[in-house]
Symmetry: D3
Subunit: 283 residues, 6 copies
């Protein structure tokens, strides 16, 4: 979740980064009492995300600036729509403009891309989930944008769920013990609330990891046919997650296999900033 | 510049974000003394950036991990190339892996995109420059990546150069005074080291802003023909910068007009993460 | 998990709290090159926890101080045992002493109390777990101490697992819908890795919350007979956790009912500092 | 003193620790506009401390929550008393509840224990004082709680008063000089506002340390008879402090010897959290 | 520029430095509801600077304190003038008093000294500029005070303009290449907005550095006659800055040589605190 | 005391302030492997202070730089003396130079001014003490410099000693009670280690404040004759401190009156930076 504290901290740091000792241009060229009105306008269609962040950029710069956001996070908009209106002192508005846009364009870009994946899988039970492939320092923002786009979040970090991969399984099997009991023994010291995902590369690994206590089996780089076979094998004893080779061309076929979750790194690592602009009129 | 202090702070924060109370999986599944070797492998060709950042992710996690980076920032590589090798304790390597990749993939993505723009303008005097459209909190990293790709940096922030746009000029002209002297008067209180960029939309504004003291005239959304006319008008009395409508299809024609600088927001706001992977072998 | 970064930050802050502008006494009374040796001695028996923290207090004060810890976290010791030996400059040792002890005594106190609960439930399958009733700012330390004592951790915070209580259930039932489907619908937007604990006060609530998707059913303030009935009802479809009225007199009977987890706030909110002392000999 | 800045910092950090990315449960299960009322109820009798801290936990989470505290710090209460009432949005109240209680229960526990020591020494001139055996990071809170219980504070840290112990005296005497002048010479470089406590183990050390400039002589581990003899020897030339072997059974006899101060580590290192609960009714 | 964020941070830190755990005196001696009125009175004539900082010291201590500042930054005042009036709770006013004065006295001292330099050069085109010889941590405050005194700021830091000195030039010339082209090549990788100052010790270096791209030529330790010759040589192709040997006795002659800028380290490194006092009347 | 932690934090912040994104000049003009040697040379005589701080500025910039400090804090030096030698990479040395000098020049300026006061009072028992009139953020540094000059420190902050002034006494007397008992009652809640200074304006106040428990009586703005009378009146029952009207012309006469302490705000608020320079030779 994107808490108020997280927004204040990241937006404050971004404002500091962008104007460590003030906005030379506005201060030099605009009389101190200049006021302005600005519209946040969509230059292309998309799905909105980041309303609270947009507001924070202006209010943290000048608490007297007023921002009315006309759309909710998750709302679709068309090119030309006015998404928000900002009024107040012109110096503060110009100082905050770029930071407000940098956040909102990126978040809306992610929401829009996520929505495309969600739309492509409509009618199936599969949820589209993000990954840890987020921009350093902005994970809470990008996860929020994924939800705005109709996606769901995966584990937040390395600290709140287990995800065992091939290397981990290889180590467990060195002892010569069977994988299921080795896995179960390794996990027993974790909190009883810890969710365990185990990634497999082949169908024949599934039985062991389900027996070993996996709550979710992640089928990595499986073909749709293999996924369908995996879903049948697991048969409701664990959730089934698919990853690898997921793009807008392949996601529908993957979703149709009956998997519960499709995790897509591209949602955050390859979304581009959506084209939003601030049309400012100095009064 | 990307100083060691800046790297340590941002990478440290990213590691904290990704494992606030440790890596549950590695701790549960790997014996504490497990060691590993990993290669950073390019899955697609590109231009590298972020060597020091890649190293920092591992060393800040476990100072005993050794990282050898085989390429320099700015070097081109092919798909399949091994860019770096990491050796040490497996737990720390797995904990740091995602953060190391998140930074390096993004930085190399920017460097690679920048290099494409630079290549497209080879043989001209135009420099490809970034903008303030950077990821909040990561400006120093993304500016560094632009330089790795052969680009140049623009002003760092609102605090270290003036950029006057249409709204600023409109305010200056309200008084009824001529723009040149109004501009000159407004700027006189700035440090004598402050660089002044003035953005114009029409050729007929150029004479005034040069007379007003602009060191760089930014011609925004001009056609190539208009740019050529602008360069002729300015005639060496100021630097000429072009922006707006710049993409890989148009940049060569823009560069051929004789402008000194082409600023491209897409370098940072729309680069996608390059596909780099860590192939890890537990010893 | 108690990461090195977390230790450094909390111990550093504690040293700052205890000597914001240095240790007046040592500086005034001891020549700068005075050296000393000190033994950490147990004044009463117990279970040790906090070895890395003890070391950090001295090393962050003076990196040249050497600390040898003779016991591992989780080891039992007798009154009179020497648990660690510290050698180095006397000024730094005296400056760090109180902070080192404040952490180690508290952590060992928690480990010792936890071990008493664990011992009392030996031979049963029940795990003793901590709660969120920890000292503000020290949760990672106190959770680590619980593990040292043979206990297990519960969810780390409000952000990494759901725990629905009576008030939440009451709100869900207002709509007139059946609880199971209302609960299931409410949880669907969470990450698929989120563990769901639901607390019930009466046996007749169990069927609904299991159907609603609870991974753990928390039976709050149940008698042993009621617990036994609850375990039978749930019959392996979810984990069973007991809480309320747990103390060293009652815990064995509770564990004997077949519950999987017993959560005990007293482990952290009411443990007393164990009596450990530093016997220092100035050389 | 417990300043507003200190409260905001520590409570803010505790809220962050307990919900780094929000309260999953409340967000998933409660409609955003759910309101509630809660009473802070004493489950056992005691002395209250931490009213401002209790308020801060809620207000820092949601500034619109209203908290009325019905008792002052230092007030006694009976089991069943309602100590405070909280009204506002239910999500914020549930998010803040545990942090508010963790602070208030611990502070009231310390105040209650302190009051027992103060009551046991009523009618004597001895003041009950705390020590540096406080929870790392919470010294200001625990010192405040001691005052709420009728106790007094000792020096805040190593930086604001001198306390010379046996090891320090041993070093001073190595030179062969008399202790009084060695002590006086060592202290002369300190600020003239620095208070000097000197700890002695035997009656025959007293004359020297008084002559050496001690403002307070700390008699460590003396019997009541020895304390009485020490008070007589010092005869008003310095304050007399007693420590060691102080508990609720011995403190009255110690106070009756005429000492000015009795310092008690147990006030903070061994107090248990008082049983306070929040009875919440969702509207 | 002295932004609100910078003021809040530095003044907050200073208040913390001066009262880490409160103001013992006011708390012990003044009833909590004591109110007071205080005048900020000039004990000597000068130029004011720091109004916003003065206000912040009180308001950050107690938001209910009201401060009316009767003069603007840059205004001259006479001995005895009342510069500001503060009303509110006496405890907070006494706690904040010293910090408020420490900032305002220092800033007004710098403004007053700067004004003396500016007055001495009236009628010339030379601007009086500060340097990087500022108090660590207070650069933004001291630069603001220089502007209050009628001076101008130089580059903010090492990161926002180039200043090449003798050592740099010596390195460039090692290669045997001509200085002009070596300098030009070295600077080409910098942002096109970077201002370049080159310092010379002798007249015969000027031609090369102008040809090498210097925007400002800094003539260091030149006599007035040499400065005049330098100005003639440069002839408008770059700005001319003078430094070295500048004091109130010499500055007029230096300014009369036609230089554009005179940089004066003494403005910040040797200004003394102006004598301002707070006359407080407890109501 | 100036602890290593305090030095690292303040020097680190100053380096960040002076080069937030690196040193453009050195990076552009010096090959990365350029080495240099530099001497810290005194341009005027004085007393040194800040050796550890000088070292830290270089080492925090580049841990491979070596600094040999040839004088101790408190040592006198003549114009032309080489006080320290620095060797290492030239880029780092130039980046750190200004910060190193800004600290050391200011600290040595304070030490030198303090030494003048101490010399002027030689042969008397009076100690020269600093005040809270220090540069915000640098109190620990300036207090250290006062000690380097042979002075002594006063209370560190509002939190570690009481200083009651005229306004406080006026409030105490409102009740109509006698001042001595009102003062004593007000102070009883403070820690028994708290030192109490009471400031008086007239001789007839002395008896009351001594009776009220003052450990030091501060005679503010007394003539030498009045001071002598005050010393006689107090007669060893408290320390005697003089303040107000103290300068290098008056301090000897004040010291000769027999006061114990003379507190001098000018030591820190009006010292000028001593002229020290770094003579750097690029190898």
């Amino acid at each position: 979740m994107l808490t108020a504290a997280v927004i204040a901290r990241a937006v404050g740091a971004a404002l500091e980064e962008d104007a460590p000792w003030g906005d030379l241009t506005s201060t030099a060229l605009l009389p101190p009492d200049t006021t302005a009105t600005a519209d946040l306008v969509a230059r292309e269609p998309g799905v909105f995300s980041g309303g609270d962040v947009f507001v924070a950029a202006f209010v943290l710069t000048d608490p007297a600036i007023r921002v009315d956001v006309h759309v909710g996070d998750g709302d679709e908009f068309a090119a030309g729509d006015v998404l928000a209106t900002v009024t107040g002192n012109a110096r503060g508005m110009l100082t905050a403009e770029r930071v407000a846009l940098n956040f909102t364009q990126r978040m809306s870009g992610i929401a829009t891309l996520t929505a495309a994946y969600v739309t492509a899988t409509e009618g199936t039970a599969a949820r589209i989930a993000d990954t840890r492939k987020t921009t350093p320092g902005l994970r809470a923002f990008e996860r929020h944008a994924v939800v705005s786009g109709g996606g769901r979040n995966h584990r937040h970090s390395l600290s709140d769920a287990v995800m065992a991969k091939d290397n981990h399984l290889a180590v467990l099997q060195r002892s010569g013990r069977d994988l299921a009991s080795a896995l179960r023994d390794a996990l027993v010291h974790l909190p009883h609330t810890t969710h365990v995902v185990v990634e497999v590369d082949r169908l024949d690994q599934i039985e062991d990891v389900v027996a070993g206590g996996a709550h979710t089996v992640l089928l990595d780089n499986f073909t749709p046919d293999e996924l369908r076979a995996g879903v049948a094998l697991i048969d409701g004893r664990a959730q089934v997650e698919a990853s690898g080779g997921v793009n807008l061309d392949t996601v529908a076929a993957i979703a149709a296999t009956g998997v519960d979750v499709i995790s897509v790194g591209a949602l955050t690592h390859s979304a581009r900033a959506l084209d939003l602009g601030l049309d400012l009129r100095i009064d």
